[in-house]
Protein backbone atom coordinates (compact mmCIF):
# COMPACT_ATOMS: atom_id res chain seq x y z
CA UNK A 1 0.00 0.00 0.00
CA UNK A 2 2.73 2.42 0.94
CA UNK A 3 4.86 1.33 -2.01
CA UNK A 4 1.98 2.04 -4.43
CA UNK A 5 1.45 5.41 -2.84
CA UNK A 6 5.11 6.31 -3.10
CA UNK A 7 5.08 5.32 -6.79
CA UNK A 8 2.06 7.53 -7.49
CA UNK A 9 3.71 10.43 -5.67
CA UNK A 10 6.90 9.96 -7.70
CA UNK A 11 4.97 9.97 -10.98
CA UNK A 12 3.12 13.12 -9.94
CA UNK A 13 6.41 14.82 -9.10
CA UNK A 14 7.93 13.71 -12.44
CA UNK A 15 4.97 15.24 -14.28
CA UNK A 16 5.32 18.39 -12.20
CA UNK A 17 9.01 18.66 -13.05
CA UNK A 18 8.28 18.38 -16.77
CA UNK A 19 5.86 21.30 -16.59
CA UNK A 20 8.23 23.24 -14.32
CA UNK A 21 10.93 22.94 -17.00
CA UNK A 22 8.51 24.33 -19.59
CA UNK A 23 7.77 27.26 -17.28
CA UNK A 24 11.47 27.82 -16.74
CA UNK A 25 12.08 27.84 -20.50
CA UNK A 26 9.40 30.49 -20.92
CA UNK A 27 10.87 32.58 -18.10
CA UNK A 28 14.39 32.27 -19.54
CA UNK A 29 13.26 33.22 -23.05
CA UNK A 30 11.61 36.33 -21.63
CA UNK A 31 14.67 37.12 -19.50
CA UNK A 32 12.67 37.05 -16.27
CA UNK A 33 14.23 35.89 -13.00
CA UNK A 34 11.71 34.03 -10.85
CA UNK A 35 11.57 33.73 -7.07
CA UNK A 36 9.46 31.06 -5.35
CA UNK A 37 8.67 32.70 -2.00
CA UNK A 38 7.54 30.35 0.76
CA UNK A 39 6.79 30.34 4.49
CA UNK A 40 4.27 29.18 7.05
CA UNK A 41 1.02 31.18 7.30
CA UNK A 42 1.50 34.59 8.85
CA UNK A 43 5.32 34.67 8.70
CA UNK A 44 5.07 37.97 6.85
CA UNK A 45 5.64 37.18 3.15
CA UNK A 46 3.29 39.87 1.88
CA UNK A 47 4.68 42.52 4.27
CA UNK A 48 8.22 41.58 3.21
CA UNK A 49 7.21 42.18 -0.41
CA UNK A 50 5.32 45.39 0.38
CA UNK A 51 8.47 46.70 2.03
CA UNK A 52 10.76 46.39 -1.00
CA UNK A 53 8.99 45.79 -4.31
CA UNK A 54 7.90 49.40 -4.76
CA UNK A 55 11.49 50.61 -4.99
CA UNK A 56 13.69 48.03 -6.72
CA UNK A 57 16.13 50.34 -8.48
CA UNK A 58 14.85 50.07 -12.03
CA UNK A 59 13.91 46.39 -11.82
CA UNK A 60 10.49 45.75 -13.36
CA UNK A 61 8.76 43.35 -10.99
CA UNK A 62 5.48 41.45 -11.02
CA UNK A 63 3.86 39.18 -8.45
CA UNK A 64 1.96 35.92 -8.84
CA UNK A 65 -0.05 35.59 -5.67
CA UNK A 66 -0.97 32.07 -4.55
CA UNK A 67 -3.74 31.56 -2.00
CA UNK A 68 -6.22 28.84 -1.20
CA UNK A 69 -9.00 31.40 -1.30
CA UNK A 70 -9.48 35.14 -1.58
CA UNK A 71 -7.31 37.93 -2.92
CA UNK A 72 -6.46 39.94 0.20
CA UNK A 73 -2.70 39.80 -0.35
CA UNK A 74 -3.02 40.69 -4.03
CA UNK A 75 -5.09 43.73 -3.06
CA UNK A 76 -2.42 44.81 -0.57
CA UNK A 77 0.30 44.51 -3.21
CA UNK A 78 -1.79 46.26 -5.86
CA UNK A 79 -1.22 49.42 -3.81
CA UNK A 80 2.39 49.33 -5.03
CA UNK A 81 1.17 49.73 -8.64
CA UNK A 82 2.80 46.50 -9.76
CA UNK A 83 1.23 43.87 -12.00
CA UNK A 84 -0.24 41.33 -9.56
CA UNK A 85 -1.94 38.13 -10.72
CA UNK A 86 -4.08 36.12 -8.31
CA UNK A 87 -3.97 32.33 -8.40
CA UNK A 88 -6.42 30.53 -6.11
CA UNK A 89 -5.92 26.83 -5.46
CA UNK A 90 -9.48 26.41 -4.20
CA UNK A 91 -11.99 26.63 -7.09
CA UNK A 92 -10.07 24.94 -9.91
CA UNK A 93 -7.60 22.84 -8.01
CA UNK A 94 -9.51 21.37 -5.05
CA UNK A 95 -8.12 23.57 -2.27
CA UNK A 96 -4.49 22.54 -2.64
CA UNK A 97 -2.09 23.56 0.11
CA UNK A 98 0.67 24.52 -2.36
CA UNK A 99 1.23 25.78 -5.85
CA UNK A 100 2.42 23.36 -8.49
CA UNK A 101 3.96 23.90 -11.91
CA UNK A 102 0.68 23.33 -13.73
CA UNK A 103 -1.17 25.97 -11.70
CA UNK A 104 1.59 28.46 -12.47
CA UNK A 105 1.47 27.45 -16.14
CA UNK A 106 -2.27 28.11 -16.22
CA UNK A 107 -1.62 31.65 -14.95
CA UNK A 108 1.15 32.52 -17.44
CA UNK A 109 -1.14 33.72 -20.29
CA UNK A 110 -2.27 36.51 -17.94
CA UNK A 111 1.28 37.70 -17.16
CA UNK A 112 3.18 39.96 -19.56
CA UNK A 113 6.56 38.30 -19.04
CA UNK A 114 8.17 40.49 -21.69
CA UNK A 115 7.57 43.53 -19.51
CA UNK A 116 9.21 42.08 -16.39
CA UNK A 117 12.72 41.52 -15.08
CA UNK A 118 11.60 39.75 -11.93
CA UNK A 119 8.54 37.66 -11.04
CA UNK A 120 7.94 36.82 -7.40
CA UNK A 121 5.60 33.89 -6.84
CA UNK A 122 4.13 34.12 -3.35
CA UNK A 123 3.30 30.52 -2.51
CA UNK A 124 0.51 29.28 -0.21
CA UNK A 125 1.42 29.65 3.46
CA UNK A 126 2.63 26.16 4.38
CA UNK A 127 6.00 24.77 5.51
CA UNK A 128 5.57 21.32 3.97
CA UNK A 129 4.23 20.74 0.46
CA UNK A 130 5.27 23.92 -1.38
CA UNK A 131 8.88 22.73 -1.03
CA UNK A 132 8.04 19.51 -2.92
CA UNK A 133 6.84 21.19 -6.12
CA UNK A 134 9.21 23.02 -8.46
CA UNK A 135 7.41 25.82 -10.27
CA UNK A 136 10.18 26.71 -12.72
CA UNK A 137 11.81 29.21 -10.38
CA UNK A 138 15.45 30.32 -10.41
CA UNK A 139 15.67 30.63 -6.65
CA UNK A 140 13.71 29.82 -3.53
CA UNK A 141 13.38 32.30 -0.73
CA UNK A 142 11.73 31.50 2.57
CA UNK A 143 10.58 33.66 5.43
CA UNK A 144 10.85 32.24 8.95
CA UNK A 145 9.31 34.28 11.74
CA UNK A 146 11.07 34.35 15.09
CA UNK A 147 7.64 33.84 16.69
CA UNK A 148 7.56 30.28 15.30
CA UNK A 149 10.28 28.87 17.52
CA UNK A 150 13.85 27.63 17.01
CA UNK A 151 12.91 24.08 16.05
CA UNK A 152 11.37 24.66 12.64
CA UNK A 153 14.44 23.88 10.47
CA UNK A 154 14.60 20.44 12.11
CA UNK A 155 10.85 19.78 11.95
CA UNK A 156 10.32 20.96 8.38
CA UNK A 157 13.76 20.29 6.87
CA UNK A 158 12.91 20.06 3.17
CA UNK A 159 11.92 23.70 2.76
CA UNK A 160 14.87 24.98 4.77
CA UNK A 161 17.22 22.61 2.91
CA UNK A 162 16.15 23.67 -0.58
CA UNK A 163 16.03 27.43 -0.18
CA UNK A 164 18.60 29.94 -1.41
CA UNK A 165 17.87 32.65 1.15
CA UNK A 166 16.24 32.67 4.59
CA UNK A 167 14.62 35.89 5.76
CA UNK A 168 14.45 35.69 9.56
CA UNK A 169 11.51 38.05 10.05
CA UNK A 170 9.90 39.90 12.98
CA UNK A 171 13.20 40.48 14.75
CA UNK A 172 11.63 43.58 16.37
CA UNK A 173 9.86 41.05 18.64
CA UNK A 174 13.03 39.31 19.85
CA UNK A 175 13.07 41.22 23.14
CA UNK A 176 9.58 39.93 23.94
CA UNK A 177 10.12 36.26 23.09
CA UNK A 178 11.98 33.31 24.58
CA UNK A 179 13.33 32.69 21.06
CA UNK A 180 17.03 31.73 21.02
CA UNK A 181 18.35 33.16 17.75
CA UNK A 182 21.68 31.35 18.01
CA UNK A 183 19.88 28.05 18.46
CA UNK A 184 17.70 28.76 15.41
CA UNK A 185 20.75 29.57 13.27
CA UNK A 186 22.49 26.46 14.58
CA UNK A 187 19.46 24.36 13.61
CA UNK A 188 19.40 26.03 10.20
CA UNK A 189 23.09 25.14 9.76
CA UNK A 190 22.23 21.50 10.44
CA UNK A 191 20.00 21.33 7.36
CA UNK A 192 21.36 24.11 5.13
CA UNK A 193 24.71 25.63 6.17
CA UNK A 194 25.12 27.39 2.80
CA UNK A 195 21.92 29.43 2.70
CA UNK A 196 22.51 33.12 3.39
CA UNK A 197 20.22 34.47 6.07
CA UNK A 198 19.07 38.04 6.62
CA UNK A 199 17.67 39.26 9.92
CA UNK A 200 14.79 41.57 9.06
CA UNK A 201 11.69 43.26 10.36
CA UNK A 202 9.09 44.18 7.77
CA UNK A 203 7.41 46.21 10.52
CA UNK A 204 10.33 48.45 11.53
CA UNK A 205 12.26 48.24 8.25
CA UNK A 206 15.36 46.84 9.95
CA UNK A 207 17.46 44.79 7.52
CA UNK A 208 15.05 45.43 4.65
CA UNK A 209 17.67 47.30 2.61
CA UNK A 210 19.73 44.13 2.36
CA UNK A 211 16.68 42.14 1.22
CA UNK A 212 16.06 44.78 -1.48
CA UNK A 213 19.73 44.56 -2.54
CA UNK A 214 19.59 40.77 -2.68
CA UNK A 215 16.67 40.94 -5.14
CA UNK A 216 18.25 43.59 -7.36
CA UNK A 217 21.55 41.67 -7.37
CA UNK A 218 19.66 38.56 -8.51
CA UNK A 219 18.44 40.43 -11.58
CA UNK A 220 21.81 42.12 -12.22
CA UNK A 221 23.69 38.80 -12.12
CA UNK A 222 21.26 37.37 -14.66
CA UNK A 223 21.71 40.39 -16.95
CA UNK A 224 25.48 40.05 -16.74
CA UNK A 225 25.18 36.43 -17.88
CA UNK A 226 22.83 37.12 -20.81
CA UNK A 227 24.70 37.31 -24.13
CA UNK A 228 24.23 40.62 -25.97
Amino acid sequence: MHRTKVKIVEEALDANNTIARANRDDFDRAGVRVVNFMSSPGAGKTSLLEGVLGDLDGVRVGVLEGDVQGSMDAERLAGLHLPVTQLNTDPGFGGECHLDANMVRSALPGIALGELDLLVIENVGNLVCPAEFALGEDVRVMAASVTEGEDKPLKYPLMFRTCDLVLVNKIDLLAHLDFDLDRFLYNLDQVNPHAPRLLVSARTGEGMERWREWLTALVRRARAKTPA
Copy 2:
Protein backbone atom coordinates in the same frame (compact mmCIF):
# COMPACT_ATOMS: atom_id res chain seq x y z
CA MET B 1 -8.41 17.18 -15.94
CA HIS B 2 -9.70 19.11 -12.98
CA ARG B 3 -12.88 17.05 -12.91
CA THR B 4 -10.83 13.82 -12.74
CA LYS B 5 -8.70 15.26 -9.98
CA VAL B 6 -11.73 16.33 -7.96
CA LYS B 7 -13.20 12.83 -8.37
CA ILE B 8 -9.99 11.18 -7.13
CA VAL B 9 -9.89 13.56 -4.17
CA GLU B 10 -13.51 12.76 -3.33
CA GLU B 11 -12.82 9.02 -3.42
CA ALA B 12 -9.79 9.45 -1.19
CA LEU B 13 -11.85 11.45 1.29
CA ASP B 14 -14.60 8.80 1.23
CA ALA B 15 -12.00 6.13 2.02
CA ASN B 16 -10.59 8.33 4.77
CA ASN B 17 -14.05 8.80 6.30
CA THR B 18 -14.64 5.04 6.39
CA ILE B 19 -11.42 4.51 8.35
CA ALA B 20 -12.17 7.54 10.54
CA ARG B 21 -15.49 5.93 11.51
CA ALA B 22 -13.67 2.73 12.48
CA ASN B 23 -11.28 4.78 14.63
CA ARG B 24 -14.23 6.58 16.22
CA ASP B 25 -15.92 3.26 17.02
CA ASP B 26 -12.74 2.06 18.75
CA PHE B 27 -12.47 5.30 20.72
CA ASP B 28 -16.15 5.13 21.74
CA ARG B 29 -15.90 1.50 22.82
CA ALA B 30 -12.93 2.41 25.02
CA GLY B 31 -14.75 5.47 26.38
CA VAL B 32 -11.99 7.82 25.19
CA ARG B 33 -12.76 11.37 24.06
CA VAL B 34 -10.51 12.47 21.21
CA VAL B 35 -9.32 15.95 20.30
CA ASN B 36 -7.84 16.73 16.87
CA PHE B 37 -5.54 19.68 17.64
CA MET B 38 -4.49 21.77 14.67
CA SER B 39 -2.68 25.02 13.84
CA SER B 40 -0.04 26.51 11.57
CA PRO B 41 3.61 25.74 12.41
CA GLY B 42 4.80 27.50 15.51
CA ALA B 43 1.41 28.67 16.78
CA GLY B 44 2.17 26.99 20.09
CA LYS B 45 0.27 23.68 20.11
CA THR B 46 2.88 21.80 22.11
CA SER B 47 3.28 24.62 24.64
CA LEU B 48 -0.51 24.81 25.02
CA LEU B 49 -0.52 21.09 25.83
CA GLU B 50 2.49 21.31 28.14
CA GLY B 51 0.66 24.00 30.09
CA VAL B 52 -2.42 21.94 30.98
CA LEU B 53 -2.06 18.19 30.39
CA GLY B 54 0.01 17.56 33.51
CA ASP B 55 -2.84 18.62 35.79
CA LEU B 56 -6.21 17.66 34.30
CA ASP B 57 -8.13 16.95 37.51
CA GLY B 58 -8.17 13.16 37.41
CA VAL B 59 -8.52 12.85 33.64
CA ARG B 60 -6.17 10.21 32.21
CA VAL B 61 -4.73 11.73 29.06
CA GLY B 62 -2.49 10.51 26.29
CA VAL B 63 -1.04 12.26 23.25
CA LEU B 64 -0.58 11.10 19.68
CA GLU B 65 2.07 13.39 18.24
CA GLY B 66 2.03 13.96 14.49
CA ASP B 67 5.10 15.38 12.77
CA VAL B 68 6.62 15.17 9.32
CA GLN B 69 9.94 14.23 10.89
CA GLY B 70 11.56 13.98 14.31
CA SER B 71 10.16 13.58 17.80
CA MET B 72 11.04 16.89 19.45
CA ASP B 73 7.49 17.65 20.56
CA ALA B 74 6.95 14.12 21.87
CA GLU B 75 10.12 14.46 23.93
CA ARG B 76 8.89 17.75 25.37
CA LEU B 77 5.56 16.20 26.34
CA ALA B 78 7.20 13.08 27.76
CA GLY B 79 8.39 15.35 30.57
CA LEU B 80 4.77 15.42 31.79
CA HIS B 81 4.89 11.64 32.36
CA LEU B 82 2.01 10.99 30.00
CA PRO B 83 1.81 8.24 27.40
CA VAL B 84 3.00 9.91 24.18
CA THR B 85 3.04 8.12 20.83
CA GLN B 86 5.02 9.55 17.92
CA LEU B 87 3.59 9.33 14.40
CA ASN B 88 5.86 10.57 11.60
CA THR B 89 4.36 11.19 8.19
CA ASP B 90 7.77 11.12 6.52
CA PRO B 91 9.16 7.55 6.43
CA GLY B 92 6.01 5.52 5.89
CA PHE B 93 3.70 8.04 4.33
CA GLY B 94 5.82 10.12 1.95
CA GLY B 95 6.16 13.31 3.98
CA GLU B 96 2.48 14.13 4.17
CA CYS B 97 1.52 17.57 5.43
CA HIS B 98 -1.34 16.25 7.55
CA LEU B 99 -2.49 13.22 9.48
CA ASP B 100 -5.18 11.04 7.97
CA ALA B 101 -7.40 8.38 9.48
CA ASN B 102 -5.24 5.52 8.21
CA MET B 103 -2.08 6.92 9.82
CA VAL B 104 -3.93 7.24 13.12
CA ARG B 105 -5.29 3.71 12.70
CA SER B 106 -1.75 2.40 12.19
CA ALA B 107 -0.75 3.96 15.51
CA LEU B 108 -3.66 2.61 17.56
CA PRO B 109 -2.10 -0.78 18.44
CA GLY B 110 0.57 1.15 20.34
CA ILE B 111 -1.93 3.15 22.43
CA ALA B 112 -3.57 1.63 25.51
CA LEU B 113 -6.99 3.20 24.91
CA GLY B 114 -8.48 1.36 27.88
CA GLU B 115 -6.24 3.33 30.21
CA LEU B 116 -7.24 6.75 28.86
CA ASP B 117 -10.14 9.17 29.21
CA LEU B 118 -8.78 11.66 26.71
CA LEU B 119 -6.52 11.36 23.67
CA VAL B 120 -5.14 14.53 22.13
CA ILE B 121 -3.89 14.14 18.58
CA GLU B 122 -1.44 16.93 17.79
CA ASN B 123 -1.67 17.28 14.03
CA VAL B 124 1.09 18.42 11.65
CA GLY B 125 1.52 22.20 11.71
CA ASN B 126 -0.45 23.33 8.65
CA LEU B 127 -3.58 25.47 8.22
CA VAL B 128 -4.85 23.72 5.08
CA CYS B 129 -4.91 19.94 4.67
CA PRO B 130 -5.33 18.72 8.26
CA ALA B 131 -8.83 20.21 8.20
CA GLU B 132 -9.78 18.01 5.22
CA PHE B 133 -9.11 14.68 6.93
CA ALA B 134 -11.31 13.37 9.73
CA LEU B 135 -9.32 11.17 12.09
CA GLY B 136 -12.23 9.84 14.16
CA GLU B 137 -12.09 12.73 16.64
CA ASP B 138 -14.96 13.99 18.81
CA VAL B 139 -13.90 17.61 18.59
CA ARG B 140 -11.47 19.83 16.74
CA VAL B 141 -9.47 22.47 18.53
CA MET B 142 -7.27 24.95 16.76
CA ALA B 143 -4.62 27.36 17.97
CA ALA B 144 -4.26 30.68 16.18
CA SER B 145 -1.35 32.87 17.18
CA VAL B 146 -1.86 36.62 17.25
CA THR B 147 1.51 36.93 15.49
CA GLU B 148 -0.05 35.44 12.33
CA GLY B 149 -2.29 38.40 11.49
CA GLU B 150 -6.03 39.08 11.52
CA ASP B 151 -6.71 37.69 8.04
CA LYS B 152 -6.16 33.98 8.64
CA PRO B 153 -9.84 32.96 9.19
CA LEU B 154 -10.65 34.40 5.76
CA LYS B 155 -7.60 32.94 4.01
CA TYR B 156 -7.83 29.45 5.53
CA PRO B 157 -11.57 29.20 6.17
CA LEU B 158 -12.03 25.41 6.27
CA MET B 159 -10.03 24.86 9.45
CA PHE B 160 -11.59 27.80 11.24
CA ARG B 161 -15.06 26.76 10.06
CA THR B 162 -14.85 23.17 11.24
CA CYS B 163 -13.31 23.66 14.67
CA ASP B 164 -15.11 23.50 18.00
CA LEU B 165 -12.76 25.77 19.92
CA VAL B 166 -10.25 28.43 18.92
CA LEU B 167 -7.35 29.13 21.25
CA VAL B 168 -6.10 32.62 20.43
CA ASN B 169 -2.53 32.20 21.66
CA LYS B 170 0.44 34.47 22.45
CA ILE B 171 -1.76 37.31 23.73
CA ASP B 172 1.20 38.42 25.89
CA LEU B 173 2.61 39.83 22.62
CA LEU B 174 -0.43 41.97 21.77
CA ALA B 175 1.19 45.17 23.07
CA HIS B 176 4.09 44.67 20.66
CA LEU B 177 2.10 43.89 17.51
CA ASP B 178 -0.11 45.79 15.07
CA PHE B 179 -2.59 42.91 15.46
CA ASP B 180 -6.21 44.10 15.70
CA LEU B 181 -7.90 41.54 17.96
CA ASP B 182 -11.42 42.85 17.26
CA ARG B 183 -10.79 42.51 13.52
CA PHE B 184 -9.54 38.93 14.00
CA LEU B 185 -12.64 37.99 16.04
CA TYR B 186 -14.86 39.68 13.45
CA ASN B 187 -13.17 37.64 10.69
CA LEU B 188 -13.60 34.49 12.78
CA ASP B 189 -17.30 35.30 13.15
CA GLN B 190 -17.60 35.49 9.36
CA VAL B 191 -16.61 31.83 8.99
CA ASN B 192 -17.55 30.32 12.38
CA PRO B 193 -19.69 32.50 14.67
CA HIS B 194 -20.49 29.57 16.97
CA ALA B 195 -16.97 28.46 17.92
CA PRO B 196 -16.03 29.47 21.44
CA ARG B 197 -12.71 31.28 21.59
CA LEU B 198 -10.30 31.55 24.51
CA LEU B 199 -7.62 34.23 24.70
CA VAL B 200 -4.54 32.55 26.12
CA SER B 201 -0.81 32.78 26.55
CA ALA B 202 1.01 29.51 27.02
CA ARG B 203 4.05 31.60 27.98
CA THR B 204 2.55 33.63 30.82
CA GLY B 205 -0.27 31.21 31.72
CA GLU B 206 -2.98 33.81 31.10
CA GLY B 207 -6.27 32.14 30.21
CA MET B 208 -4.80 28.65 30.51
CA GLU B 209 -7.11 27.71 33.39
CA ARG B 210 -10.11 28.06 31.10
CA TRP B 211 -8.44 25.84 28.46
CA ARG B 212 -7.83 23.23 31.17
CA GLU B 213 -11.47 23.47 32.26
CA TRP B 214 -12.68 23.12 28.69
CA LEU B 215 -10.79 19.83 28.33
CA THR B 216 -11.97 18.39 31.66
CA ALA B 217 -15.57 19.44 30.85
CA LEU B 218 -15.29 17.59 27.54
CA VAL B 219 -14.51 14.36 29.40
CA ARG B 220 -17.14 14.98 32.10
CA ARG B 221 -19.91 15.57 29.57
CA ALA B 222 -18.99 12.29 27.87
CA ARG B 223 -19.09 10.42 31.18
CA ALA B 224 -22.51 11.87 32.00
CA LYS B 225 -23.83 10.56 28.67
CA THR B 226 -22.43 7.05 29.06
CA PRO B 227 -25.10 4.60 30.32
CA ALA B 228 -24.15 2.85 33.58
